[in-house]
């Protein structure tokens, strides 16, 4: 089958994976992005970038786990800095029931006691007597990995234009990865606001994402290396992408402080918020409208789903095969 001229709109995590996958499959790929600077308008720029297919099943459908597991393989094959340290779930003593519920709702974990927890994360020694360890989960640094994907796509021959949102006239296929910006075309799409902050501290060292369960303010901390930590994230039914509110900042900071008092001395490096695109079932979709293909609705699972969705798009273009739960 002859290779195609493909234009991808939107250079967030979804569009970057589409670009890299399709250019490596031999297509002539142009990636265009409205914002002038890379990743400025992308909600994935604010992501935690955990690759947690098992833990996410606490509040998501089985499809997320299935696509997510495939994505981890693709991340590992593609991006050498994929951190495969697993992830740890803990709760304060009075929230142990949240831990039981989490255990019941998910798979791929083992129960760990205080000594296992302190072997894995010495700085949490003596603070948590029970936890769940998801050995097969991973994480990446969102900005570094997005940079990597962009450079890799360009090295493989993709043409990239920032500050542009019109597709060139001669293109066989348009792959629309604009996230919430595609709402005018996709009526059911809505925004779900996520807020997070970044802190820096030398006083605590974590080597894997840690989630602290709480009935109202569940929180995760993702180590970015060099003392940087992402603390996230709120989940608010709103497509407002404006600055973090004081209330959300208080929630995030006080929960981080509860996770470990060392966060009390950390420097706040940045606050940020994005509107994550979601369909009513919070599941991703690939919507084929002739030669215009939407890949959207990645919700809070951008990094977890983007590689697998890119693979599905590439397979569809190659063979016409459609995954029944993703394509419509």
């Amino acid at each position: 089958m002859p290779k195609k001229k493909i234009t991808i709109i939107g250079a967030g995590i979804c569009g970057l994976w589409q670009a890299l996958t399709l250019v490596r499959a031999g297509h002539a790929v142009t990636l265009i992005e409205r914002s002038k600077k890379p990743f400025e308008g992308a909600c994935s720029f604010y992501a935690g970038a955990m690759l947690a297919p098992f833990a996410e099943e606490e509040g998501a459908e089985k499809l997320i786990r299935e696509l997510g597991l495939r994505s981890i393989e693709l991340w590992r094959d593609t991006y050498p800095d994929t951190q495969c340290e697993g992830s740890l779930i803990i709760a304060q003593p009075r929230d142990q029931k949240e831990l039981h519920r989490f255990e019941r709702m998910t798979m791929g974990h083992e129960r760990v006691n205080e000594s296992r927890i302190s072997e894995m994360e010495p700085d949490l020694k003596g603070r948590y007597s029970n936890g769940l360890f998801f050995a097969d989960e991973a994480h990446v640094h969102p900005h570094q990995s997005m940079d990597f994907l962009l450079n890799a796509a360009e090295e493989a021959g993709a043409v990239v234009h920032f500050g542009r949102d019109e597709a060139p006239g001669s293109t066989d296929l348009l792959i629309d990865c604009r996230g919430i910006a595609a709402r005018e075309d996709l009526g059911e799409l809505r925004g779900v606001r996520g807020e997070r902050l970044v802190v820096r501290t030398e006083e605590i060292n974590l080597s894997r994402p840690v989630r602290l369960l709480h009935p109202r303010f569940p929180l995760y901390v993702v180590p970015w290396g060099y003392g940087f930590y992402l603390i996230g994230a709120t989940q608010i039914e709103s497509d407002e992408a404006g600055p973090v509110t004081v209330r959300s900042a208080l929630d995030l900071l006080s929960t981080a402080y509860a996770l470990h008092p060392a966060f009390g001395e950390a420097e706040v490096v940045g606050f940020g918020a994005g509107a994550r695109p979601a369909f009513p079932d919070n599941l991703p979709r690939i919507i084929v409208k002739g030669d215009h293909i939407h890949v959207n609705g990645l919700f809070r699972h951008g990094f977890l789903l983007a590689p697998a969705l890119a693979e599905l798009t590439a397979r569809y273009i190659e063979t016409g095969e459609t995954h029944p739960e993703v394509f419509s």
């Binding site: 809505r190 009935p215 109202r216 039914e237 497509d239 509110t245 369909f279």
Partner: protein, 262 residues
């Protein structure tokens, strides 16, 4: 007799909170499966800036049920009143579930602020549904402030303990025979809901027990059936418990009746 709030008939006695669901689709499926005709929606953040929660609100509208906006998370009278006014504009209803929270740890109502906010809102034309405890003194003040519905908690919000103080709940029912009483918060299992309905409570409002269930859609049905059963039992008149066994057939004359061991 159909449940009525401020003169509006509601054909289901299960009222559902819309937070914490895995997705709006599952929320929608659970509401449909439960037959609930009234959902409560938190206004505080969705609407916070630039009416930014429209996507979610559109999905709620499609459910075609009564919407009771709430002021969840408000800690002061001013906050609650402002949120209520925002809700009236956004949801085009004068109904408001009024929450004024004392602190984030217990989520107890701050009853002084609650009564004050209820008075202000009632004067402003709102139909107020106050979230409260079973305290009768506070209840009377709320009725005095114009509330025609009272919503005592069964137990703290999200705790799933059921009715922590059943005798106070019974007293409240007896004290306010003609005011619709809704158990708002604390219900964890369908049996808790049935128990409250057997006491004569008019409806149950709950969120976490359905939203965080392994299968929220099925749990919605379970609550609907328990609430129906409790209501039917109340309407039919429950038997009074007795201290001793009371055989349902006469024992005298029963063959092999042993007089020595009787």
């Amino acid at each position: 007799m159909m449940l009525e709030f401020y003169g509006i008939g509601i054909s289901s006695r299960l009222l559902i909170g819309t937070a914490l669901y895995p997705s709006p689709q599952i929320l929608s499926d659970a509401v449909v499966a439960s037959g609930s005709k009234l959902v409560t929606v938190s206004v505080r953040r969705e609407a916070a800036r630039a009416r930014a929660g429209q996507g979610f609100w559109e999905l709620i509208k499609q459910l075609d049920v009564h919407v009771l906006p709430n002021t969840a998370g408000c800690k002061t009278v001013k906050e609650a009143v402002t949120t209520a006014q925002m809700a009236r504009e956004l949801f085009e209803t004068d109904w408001i579930k009024l929450e004024v929270i004392a602190n984030d740890d217990t989520l107890q109502p701050e009853v002084f602020g609650l009564v004050e906010a209820a008075r202000i809102l009632n004067e402003d034309g709102f139909k107020v549904f106050p979230y409260m405890t079973e305290d009768l003194g506070v209840a009377e003040k709320l009725v005095g402030a114009g509330c025609e519905v009272l919503m005592p908690w069964g137990a703290p919000i999200g705790s799933g303990q059921g009715l922590a103080n059943p005798s106070a709940m019974k007293t409240m029912r007896a004290y306010f025979p003609d005011i619709p009483l809704v158990v708002d918060a604390g219900i964890g299992a369908p049996s808790h809901a049935a128990f409250a309905m057997e006491m004569g409570y008019d409806a149950i409002l709950l969120n976490t027990a359905i939203a965080k269930a392994g299968d929220p859609v099925k749990m919605g049905r379970a609550f609907a059936q328990a609430i129906d059963a409790g209501r039917l039992a109340y309407e039919s008149g429950l038997m009074e418990p007795r201290d001793m066994a009371s055989p349902s057939t006469p024992v005298a004359g029963t063959p092999f009746f042993n007089i020595d061991s009787a």
